[in-house]
Subunit: 107 residues, 2 copies
């Protein structure tokens, strides 16, 4: 997938710069792998809304999510870990069982 589209995005204390492949958490740079970054961008472009795994996979991986493929879940976990370490006071990625995930800066 292309990671170079879109403009600067702000989600709470998160600042995503798709053009540069850079994420700032409260001003500090977050070290993300390509997949992690693409997944975050996919979530961010639908911020506040619930996004299905299928959609996330399309955007971050490209192609169709095969049934049984857990890559998406695993990377959600990796993202959560890094976001939580960077901004412990927030909860960004919310699970909606049976629907997907939602990016939203919680208290």
């Amino acid at each position: 997938m292309q990671t170079s589209h879109g403009e600067l995005v702000r989600i709470g204390d998160l600042e995503i710069r798709p053009q540069e492949g850079l994420v700032l958490a409260a001003g500090r740079a977050l070290v993300l792998s390509v997949r992690e970054f693409d997944l975050l961008v996919a979530l961010a472009t639908h911020a506040g809304r619930v996004v299905s795994r299928e959609e996330l996979y399309r955007q971050a991986w490209g192609g169709t999510l095969r049934r049984g493929d857990r890559s998406c879940d695993v990377y959600i976990h990796k993202l959560r870990t890094k976001l939580e370490r960077a901004l412990p006071q927030h909860r960004f990625i919310h699970t909606h069982v049976g629907f997907g995930y939602r990016l939203d800066p919680g208290p």
Copy 2:
């Protein structure tokens, strides 16, 4: 049942987004299970009118409601609980004994 059809629906302070499986109560995301969500959508598509259990079951579960099946009642209760917690000043789901339920934003 399909949960992906239909446009945005507003019932009082409730905002239902069938496409996403998301419900906003006064702007805040409401966490609903798939069944709860489908049931709410079923009620919402007939908002203001009394809907029979049979009809609700058809829409939210698919298939025919067997006599003795209380699933519908149980999930009405779960929905009520969550709606009441989110918007205590409203009473959304009204029981019409012998007929069914009606979704309506009360004071």
